[in-house]
Symmetry: C2
């Protein structure tokens, strides 16, 4: 490990709740370092659906997930958060002074007065189909998220999966791609009824072709460029489908093992918190966003924002027990860090 940085709050998770926690901490004069296993900020918003519009952020009638993250980054920026991306936090210890030392796999080490866990569904990555050649094609012609629809204009696209993401992108790309084939190992889809209806309409119009019940069994091509997706049916029928790109939507893999290691009480893959403070079962460790649970909890981005404010205020009291918080509104004072 290299040098140890010091700050008020170490935030684990750079999704919307974690980013807004930087802002709320900053408004109270608390400095932050932010850790995320993903190489970019934004969590699921960036990794899974950057181009999808979100309608239920208060005050934002419609915004793409990517733009929301850009806004949250700009909102946090005046408070100079330090980002440690692309490496998972693996180490947490508490000193006799009640401060924490955390480090990621790369060895970035931070000493912080409090921890905010904003880890969403846990450190995640895409579930991958069991195909040996897969790594050679990833991010060249095989993708687990759709970041830029324009790159698929006129192309032959194979989409694998049966849930909402697979359906949504089959629908979204039907008018952009040259050909869309949707592969699913069952003949029923798990998506929202409206999406299933929209898909059936597109299949009827010849804009999407179904390959069901088939399973993706291999990738043909070279130098990372797929030429065909090989499909196998339940009775071993093999079909090779021409493809310029393959999009796999098999869900996310979650890893919440850190919770056990750090002595945090976990309930159904969530961390119960005191709703008045967002503190977990361990003093000094707080949780906000989808990973936090309490009675009446709603898993909404705007709920994560409110929890960030609650956690920041509770942490202020933990770190400055003698100094009453002189609560001020941004309309009165503007941004303290921006002075």
């Amino acid at each position: 490990m290299g040098e140890t940085s010091t700050c008020d709050v170490a935030i684990i998770g750079a999704g919307p709740s974690g980013l807004f926690a930087v802002f709320e901490c900053g408004m109270l004069g608390l400095s932050s370092h932010v850790f995320d296993a993903l190489p970019e900020i934004g969590g699921q918003c960036t990794a899974l659906y950057p181009e999808k519009p979100i309608y239920d952020i208060g005050g934002l009638p419609a915004i793409s997930a990517g733009d929301l993250i850009a806004n949250l980054e700009a909102q946090a920026a005046p408070f100079n958060p330090v980002y440690h991306l692309g490496s998972q936090v693996t180490h947490l210890t508490e000193g006799p002074d009640g401060r924490f030392t955390i480090a990621n796999e790369r060895g970035d080490t931070v000493n912080a007065g409090a921890i905010i866990l904003a880890a969403g569904a846990g450190a995640f990555g895409p579930n991958r189909p069991p195909i040996a050649a897969l790594p050679d094609f990833e991010n060249i012609s095989v993708f687990y998220a759709c970041r830029n629809t324009a790159q698929f204009t006129g192309k032959k696209i194979v989409i694998a999966g049966g849930g909402d993401s697979a359906l949504d992108w089959a629908i979204a790309l039907a008018d952009i791609a040259g050909k869309v084939t949707l592969v699913h190992r069952r003949d029923k889809f798990r998506g929202a009824p409206a999406s299933v209806a929209a898909l059936e309409r597109l299949v009827g119009e010849g804009k999407v072709e179904l390959a069901v019940p088939f399973q993706l069994s291999d990738i043909l091509g070279e130098d990372g460029q797929i030429t065909h997706a090989r499909l196998t049916s339940m009775d071993d029928e093999i079909r090779d489908i021409e493809a310029d790109a393959l999009l796999c939507f098999y869900g996310l893999s979650h890893d919440l093992s850190f919770a056990h290691e750090w002595g945090l009480h976990l309930e159904k893959k969530e961390l119960p918190v005191n709703a008045a403070t967002c503190e977990t079962s361990r003093a000094g460790i707080y949780a906000v966003g989808d990973i936090a649970c309490y009675e009446g909890k709603l898993k909404l981005i705007l709920t994560g924002f409110a929890e960030g404010a609650i956690a920041a205020h509770a942490i202020y009291k933990r770190l400055h027990p003698e100094t009453p918080l002189h609560f001020e509104y941004s309309t009165t004072r503007g941004l303290p860090g921006a002075a």
Copy 2:
């Protein structure tokens, strides 16, 4: 009273929390009517500080209060809320079916399955100085809020009051108006230290003139157009200050008498709610925003947004106890009302 309209939820208060509650109810298929004593939507945002920037709405790095209200109105619009503005709600009864009938002074009558109180600090209006001629000048040359700074360009402005609003507008208008005189009955100001310092700097530069300790005692002028503000000192010295406009910032008057009348438990001018549902002491009546209190409550606009979501979900369960809520994200389904 005229005809009675029927809806799922009657929302009292058209400030940011009330407007966003319309959206959250709409997302669950619940229709809303919205009541407010003020003639415009927006509550304090519109009435007191429409041009002030707000920095602490999640996802919005900076937005004026007026633009925030415009966004919230647009966000609520797909769900067709019915607004009843400019008349105070004076009547509430509960039927044997557990539904409520509410009516305002004008006689607009609505039957609703649940009530959301989003009344902020209560039905409010500006505190007025005790000057008989005042009503003749209001909204012509005497104002209690600053809606449009441009109208004061080059003018002689007298500002009365000693708190943050008076200070903020003295500072904001110092470079726009021809002359700014700030009248306060004491020689100390109650505003934020940074604002007091900024004011002192402007006084030193001759951009703001102080008249302290003086009290506003009369208005001279005719046809609604002020020519002079008459000031009186503690030892009865009278001073007439030339003025094209007078801005009075004496705070807000609150009226929470409805809470007693409706049998709601009130604590320190706030309504205690169950944080998991936002329900008040009376079943079927919910409270969100600044008027609602619970352990850990923060009076922030974004907290009011989250409470609107919580109340909407609780109301859905109240009105549809047999139908489990199929919870869906706006990213998955878009806006149900906009289909």
